[in-house]
Symmetry: none
Subunit: 284 residues, 2 copies
DNA sequence: ATGATTTTGATCTATTCTGATCTAATCGCG
DNA sequence: CGCGATTAGATCAGAATAGATCAAAATCAT
């Protein structure tokens, strides 16, 4: 029986039955490991140095480096290669952050106008809320900020007059958020003036949904710990569904963009939900 | 004896005695790093001085400065260039991470060899421990990892078979760590097999010291929650002082590099501390 | 064993990088 | 304000590096 654990090269090794695999010279997997090892030990290396160290030609080393680069393990630069720095980690997340970017920025700007100095706010780990975080970094004001988002917290490094508290908990790679019972327990001892919550989806009957169970559970806790609740969701989210229900919109105010259909405007008015439509041109 | 007082740039200047850092191997990325370092150390430098220090022509230095200016890390003025105001603290961490890098990587490699699959470990927020984190990312094994370091957690995004738990608490910008009573409270409910702790300084009488009060307090909690304790400190840390005492070394094992003086080897042996000397060439 | 596929290494071409020289802009000083 | 001196920017040839192509070698499936 073969156990797959997500590592493709290991799978190949397990299935392959060559007894001569211990040979270090000619096998591609060994070469890739050797390159990674060499680059880690030296930080940076020219292609020539790698070729000498490994005993392969320049062309082969280049091809190997292409593979490693596509895996995100290394960074290739003119003149050689180096171990990838931590920054280029979340590809899917960054892609998601770019979708409907102008709408998200408009929404973030509208949300920023709601902030008051020296208050306590909570920022969710969503991509729309991240834009709000970016805006606060560029236009700082004294705030006490709570968040469960790694990227959100990162925005606030070295910004003066900000007290930033990150929730502890299990790291969820999909959106670099912290979730789980530890995060929820920590929330229980915190109270804040404003909550800015993103949403994976807003169901046709006007409820917030999330793609993740733990995230949804944590979102519920957030909602119960804030004096004012704002849901930041671009208009494309309305009328879509996700797996886990968080809460009805009725207890929150909504900030969205001008793309919201007249049907939904009426719907939200019928639910008694306060809606702010962010104007895309409304930048200061 | 060197007293560390929390001013990072002073630490760099005082301890910095390596001539090897300013040597660029003729490759662009090395030069950019060298310029960053030189400018960080001196605050301002003329183009001629940079060209002399790095060993490149004036034209090349100018072009490099253009790149760095577009990245926003420096400001160019007539006659030379200076570090951009905003990013000096951020650079301090990177500079610190690069100092004694080969020693730190050797230490990290020795620490990695101590890991066993499916155990629970805690990784401190120091720069040496960050190298261990990077090693785990490049060479993953199933682990339950706890940390209070934002950059450490970032390393583990999208790595399969890792359960990563980040301590909650107040964000400390200097080294992107989470500290404070909330972090300590969360530690109280966690127990792990191995702790890997960095150290700002190891005092002449063999005690761990830290530059930050909250960090020191948290470190004490960490030490009390682990079955095995490993202090990762390159040899330059021994015989230096910082402001806040964490704990004596006696209850921990030490991993350091071959630069440790014979005096200190004897000293540690006298204290009954188990010492591992990481060999810089000791790769698989 | 044999043919097909993949991998490797050498050669050639294209791109990028470097350093020198020349021209334009800026600074210091009377 | 103008002048000399210094510094910045532009251009270009030479060098180094990356990418593309192709034949030989190794590997794999039948």
């Amino acid at each position: 029986m073969i156990v797959l654990n997500g590592n493709l090269s290991e799978i190949e090794v397990i299935i392959g039955e060559e007894p001569s695999l211990s040979q270090a010279g000619g096998v591609k997997v060994d070469r890739l490991d050797a390159i990674r090892s060499h680059l880690y030990a030296n930080g940076f290396s020219t292609i020539q140095a790698l070729a000498d160290a490994i005993g392969a030609s320049l062309a082969t080393v280049r091809r190997d480096l292409q593979v490693l680069e596509s895996e995100g393990v290394i960074d290739r630069v003119h003149g050689g290669a180096r171990i990838a720095e931590g920054s280029s980690v979340e590809l899917a997340f960054q892609e998601r952050a770019k979708r409907h970017l102008s709408a998200k920025r408009a929404i973030a700007t509208a949300a920023y106008d709601l902030l008051a100095p020296r208050t306590a706010i909570f920022l969710d780990a969503g991509t729309t809320v991240l834009q709000l975080a970016r805006l606060i970094r560029l236009n700082p004001m004294p705030l006490r900020i709570f968040t469960n988002g790694l990227t959100v917290a990162q925005e606030f490094l070295n910004i003066p007059n900000l007290e930033v508290v990150l929730l502890g908990g299990q790291l969820r790679s999909e959106n670099a958020s912290l979730v789980g019972p530890q995060a929820e327990a920590m929330l229980e001892s915190i109270w804040f003036d404003q909550l800015f919550l993103g949403a994976s989806a807003i169901s046709p009957d006007g409820a917030i949904y999330s793609v993740d169970s733990a995230e949804a559970s944590l979102n519920k806790c957030m909602l119960s710990r804030s004096a004012h609740r704002f849901v930041l969701a671009d208009s494309s989210k309305f009328g879509t569904m996700a797996t886990y229900k968080v809460a009805p919109l009725s207890a929150s105010k909504v900030i969205t963009d001008a793309g919201l259909s007249t049907h939904w405007r009426g719907e939200l008015a019928g639910l008694g939900v306060d809606v702010t439509i962010a104007d895309l041109g409304g930048r200061e």
